[in-house]
């Protein structure tokens, strides 16, 4: 983000323009060459040459004919399962070796939240955390078994499961380690890595409580083990409270089948709770009177406090927010003094619904209320917006969300004072971007 980089980017842009105009000249020649030939065919319209109408003053993107305006596009037979424009190729999940457990089979690919609009994450950009690689399960060979403390154990094929009355809900899924590498200091010059361990989608599936109505849950059943059928056979313990409230088994993600990265054919969905609890490639639910103590309920997915005690079974991801524009990837270096610009971001709470978001321009010393925009749903991403007149001055830009459970995002200091710096998980302290006088954006923490 220094000047040298900017200059080299300009060079690249310039050379690209030159290259394009070279291509255009070639294309014009070709077009002229084939004009008489094309005229012979009555179905073909002659190509219009814009160049005859002007003197070349202005933006070549407007003055020159473009390839896509003068030739066929792809026929409808092309890419029958659609793909994004190749010009969006930089909008992609990303990884870093420092977040992997030794290899890329037990690792995370994070979501480019700075490139997303609205509250729905496209399925190909949804963050992916797995513990033994992304399983590619044969739909026809997958079963869901429900057993343990139920009167009637059950096994379902996927077709049978999908016969149950379906519900669709928009919910975020967040890895509880989102922001976790930054307990002790900011580390990532990037929003994608600092806050991109999360995504939000519309999920379709069944309430587990609807299936249980037929099975007869025994009164001593207090905990449910959910287990995946992938390489890691990952299990997690869920309290019966959530199972009987809004827990779902989902097969649909934004209108299509779950992607393999999200647990195809089915995963557990526990609105608002730790992403790790929402077991992917789900195959087995077992009910018991005591918790199971699965592997991800030990040194991982527990939050150590200064007392030496660790919070085990830490369920909901607490109220949180981040400004997505500007951010390190999308700085304000193109703004001029006096430009009116939207500060935009995402707020979410696993404990309920976002009630409001405050914005600070001075690192959290003074706050103003931002507007919410679009849909405001429980345990879902919520967009916020704040209109700002850019003054070309350095800022410390912070956002602070609050939810209907009464919780307000703590400052970094408040959070550290309360739970120390070794928690790894569930970090929701106020996030701050430093905007420098030339519009660059840096990841900082305010310790006041």
């Amino acid at each position: 983000m220094n000047k040298a980089v900017t200059v080299s980017q300009e060079d690249e842009v310039l050379s690209e323009i030159q290259e394009q105009s070279g291509r255009r000249k070639f294309f014009k020649k070709t077009a002229a060459y084939s004009m008489s030939a094309l005229a012979a065919s009555s179905v073909l319209m002659p190509v219009k040459i814009k160049a005859e109408k002007h003197h070349g003053q202005g933006d070549p993107a407007i003055l020159e004919e473009q390839v896509w305006g003068t030739t066929f596009g792809y026929p409808v037979t092309h890419n029958l399962y659609g793909l994004p424009s190749p010009y969006e190729s930089n909008v992609t999940r990303r990884t870093t070796e420092l977040l992997s457990s030794g290899n890329m089979y037990a690792s995370i690919a994070v979501s480019p939240i700075h490139e997303l609009s609205g509250i729905i994450t496209p399925n190909g950009l949804f963050f992916n955390r797995c513990h033994g690689g992304t399983a590619e399960i044969d739909y026809n060979k997958h079963r869901l078994m429900i057993h343990g403390l139920v009167e009637k154990p059950l096994v379902l094929t996927m077709d049978e499961l999908k016969r149950y009355p379906s519900v669709s809900r928009i919910h975020f899924i967040e890895c509880p380690a989102n922001g976790g590498p930054e307990w002790r200091n900011p580390q990532f010059p990037s929003i994608q890595f600092a806050k991109g361990f999360m995504s939000c989608a519309e999920w379709t599936g069944v309430y587990i409580k609807d299936i249980l109505k037929d099975l007869g849950l025994k009164p001593e059943a207090k905990w449910m083990l959910a287990e995946g059928m992938d390489n890691s056979h990952m299990g997690r313990t869920v309290p019966i409270d959530k199972v009987l409230d809004d827990a779902m088994i989902v097969w649909g993600q934004n209108g299509e089948a779950l992607r393999p990265e999200q647990g195809y054919p089915i995963r557990l969905l526990l609105p608002g709770w730790e992403g790790n609890l929402m077991v992917k490639w789900l195959g087995r639910l077992e009910f018991a009177s005591e918790p199971f103590y699965a592997k991800e309920e030990t040194a991982k997915y527990t939050a150590l406090k200064p007392s030496g005690k660790a919070i085990q079974h830490f369920y909901a991801n607490e109220v949180n927010s981040v400004i997505t524009s500007p951010c390190p990837e999308k700085p304000w270096s193109d703004l001029k003094k006096g430009d009116v610009v939207e500060i935009e971001g995402l707020a979410w709470s696993g404990m309920g619904t976002i009630k409001g978001v405050d914005i600070s321009l001075d690192g959290g010393k003074n706050w103003k209320e931002a507007s919410l925009k679009g849909l405001v749903l429980p345990q879902a991403w919520t967009r916020f917006s704040f209109i700002y007149k850019y003054e070309g001055k350095a800022l410390f830009l912070s956002s602070r969300a609050r939810d209907d459970a009464g919780y307000v995002q703590p400052s970094v200091k408040q959070e550290r004072d309360a739970v120390g710096v070794e928690g790894v998980y569930h970090r929701n302290g106020i996030h701050t971007w430093e905007v420098t006088a030339n519009g660059e954006v840096k990841n900082v923490q305010i310790l006041s």
Binding site: L38, R94, Y164, D210, Y293, W367, V444
Partner: protein
Amino acid sequence: MFKSYHKLLVATTLFAMLGTSVVCAADKTVSRTYENGKKVIDGGMTYPVYKGKTASYYMNEKAHGGAVNFGRKPTLDEIKAWDIDVMPDGTGLPEGEGSVEEGDEIYEAKCASCHFDFGSGGSGYPALQQGNAYEGQKTLTNQRINPDDDGPQRNFGSYWPQASTLWWYIQTGMPHPAPMSLSDDETYALVAYTLSINEIQIDGEELDDEYVLNREKFLKIVMPNKDGFEPKIDGPNGLENARKYYDNPKNFGGNKERCMKNCFDGDPVVARIQGVGISEYSPPISIKREKPMPKEGSKAEHPGKKAYTASCAVCHTTDAMGAPAVGDKQAWEAALKKGLDKVKHNAIYGINGMPPKGGTTLSDDKVSEIVDYMIEASK
């Protein structure tokens, strides 16, 4: 008389209005308790179905009445085949045995390549021990406030509450590239070895090389950090303990304060990324709108494609004009029964509604190349 009646009427109306407002304030669409009156277990809110809706979502309440049931009862063998978990009380733990020495051998063969010698870990793979587990447990109060501070030791021996988790995890998750491949005895041996390198004692006894672990001895293991967790989820009050725990913001650092003005003294104290921070990403960060460069070794575009798109696609994209559509395998197979030379001849000299060379002045060679492309793209 009239006046006082009027007053009474006003008072009654006021009271009624107040009553109404009280009813409005009691929002039935959101609650801190479940239907059974118990506090929401995560400390947050629940959204009961009210007037056919939960939060903003409409729902068909008849669909959730429990009348729908599909599937079948699994056989006992099916349940046994899938019921792989091992619980702290020994549920799911099979009989079997293995010695520390046997575990050492299996470890060298199947585990050391990732977890390194004696489970020391490295290259991102977790350490299985950091010395004596009882000493390690004492480091869990460590907080890395200053750069030189030692952190807490978070490994199996010093941190995990239950040994059952290790048995379960080793047998079903390890070795990482080949899970579900270890026998019960091999698993006992590896568990024995892991306990021994952590210097964990069973019934006051250290696990030397000859120590043979079996189910009975396993169930006597008390992990050093067994009581290091909250809320207390075991036993009959487990759920209620969790509900109470998350009802108190102090337990997990919940904040309810919303300061708006002068929230701290002086200028902000700023912590910045040290050096370049963690900035090696794959792929590198870019927000440019650009086509990716073609990968090396990827198939070059067919030389006939460009001319096809410019001159022939209008009729050959679909079969609507009677021409064989590009991509229609059957149509092209049928056409090719005449032989490739005849197909090319027809393309150059015309056939049925198609004018010679499709009405273009392209060279014979170019037309031939286009035909090659159309056949290639229809395979």
